[in-house]
Symmetry: C2
Subunit: 221 residues, 2 copies
Amino acid sequence: MDANFTPLRGIPEPSLRRLPSYCQLLKRIACEESELISCTRIGQELNLDPTQVRKDIAFTGIVGKPKIGYNIRELHDAIETFLGWKNVRDTFLVGAGNLGSALLGYRPFEQYGVRIVAAFDVDPCKIGTTVHGKEVFGIEKLPDLASRLHIRLGILTTPAEVAQQVTEVMVASGIRGIWNFAPVGLNVPADVIVQSENLFSSLSVLSSRLTASLRTTPIQE
Amino acid sequence: MDANFTPLRGIPEPSLRRLPSYCQLLKRIACEESELISCTRIGQELNLDPTQVRKDIAFTGIVGKPKIGYNIRELHDAIETFLGWKNVRDTFLVGAGNLGSALLGYRPFEQYGVRIVAAFDVDPCKIGTTVHGKEVFGIEKLPDLASRLHIRLGILTTPAEVAQQVTEVMVASGIRGIWNFAPVGLNVPADVIVQSENLFSSLSVLSSRLTASLRTTPIQE
DNA sequence: TAGATTGTTAATCGATTAACAATC
DNA sequence: TAGATTGTTAATCGATTAACAATC
């Protein structure tokens, strides 16, 4: 152990990405007879190595009891706290098209720490309307509203062509995290976090595997 | 090299997931002066190691010229062919709610090898209507239509509670690949491929990083 | 007690990155 | 020619998996 390096490396991304699925499982089985759960069981349910589950869980700071396991409610609580789902963050959405409208109406977000408080667009037909209870403003209103409401998180659902331009407005308005659904890379300053949702990456994985699978095990009807 | 193992391991998933972004970049710069591009340039644009880009590209089978690079159009073509985007696959979507409707109207899919030909739901208010030009059928029509149209790929956008049940109908109807947008794991036979879109995994990564970033570099307005 | 489970350390595995000869 | 780039082999890095002592 070299004392020069801060051990504050934090949780690895793969572990972070698995945590939400543990929450979903715990919620599903909360009504069962037992109040306890083991990594073995979680691993079986989610098709993961139990040691991996144990390590992931350790990052949340919770400790279990040997031979016993973890208290389901405590574990659920610890993961939610770790993921920051207890504090809801007010969020803007830019681009009230098909996908944007869908996300505006996506209920589960509120349980996962994200409350979309307003939407923005350039289309005069959309400005002034209400989508799933959220008002749509002209994009020129974004800087002022973002600053007054102290918005730090933005969801980007515009077409690819204008994504960079819109990003610059968001960043200039104090937004520090962008959930990007446009299929392009975004250039941002070092202190702005971008998480791009690559629908086509996932689709590529699925298509390739499906093609391979259909080749080895053809149609059986 | 041990001859016992088939070298047909295929492309690693991380490489596969990067390929679509190369296509997007190539499309964007197709209009530029040069007809050539190097891995160095691609790496700069997408913030990737040039060697990594070179290895990814090699999986598509295309070969470049030392000192010259790759022909942009040829490279673009090779990646699209490799990803199977040239052959469009007829696809069913189940769950015509917010998210489902958005995907039904999402134009880019057709360029990426997926054509949604019909939607299914259980809500009598939706059945018989048309969403973005696609007819919505009752779920009970799925088996017969899937078999007649030889559907192999399905998109699942139902609420989590009914996802498993709907999956079983899809699998029984001959569907072999499922793009799952419901926030639950699905149990399927070994010859069925599931690709789950974990919106909340991505959101967790973004939230965590944003929280950390706001802690180190607070508001500067 | 015996067996299952936790927490932790060591071994393995695979992806990323570095090094370098070949080449246009 | 010199320098940039490809293709490939070796080194590094980090995540996953295995091993095992501690414990309820």
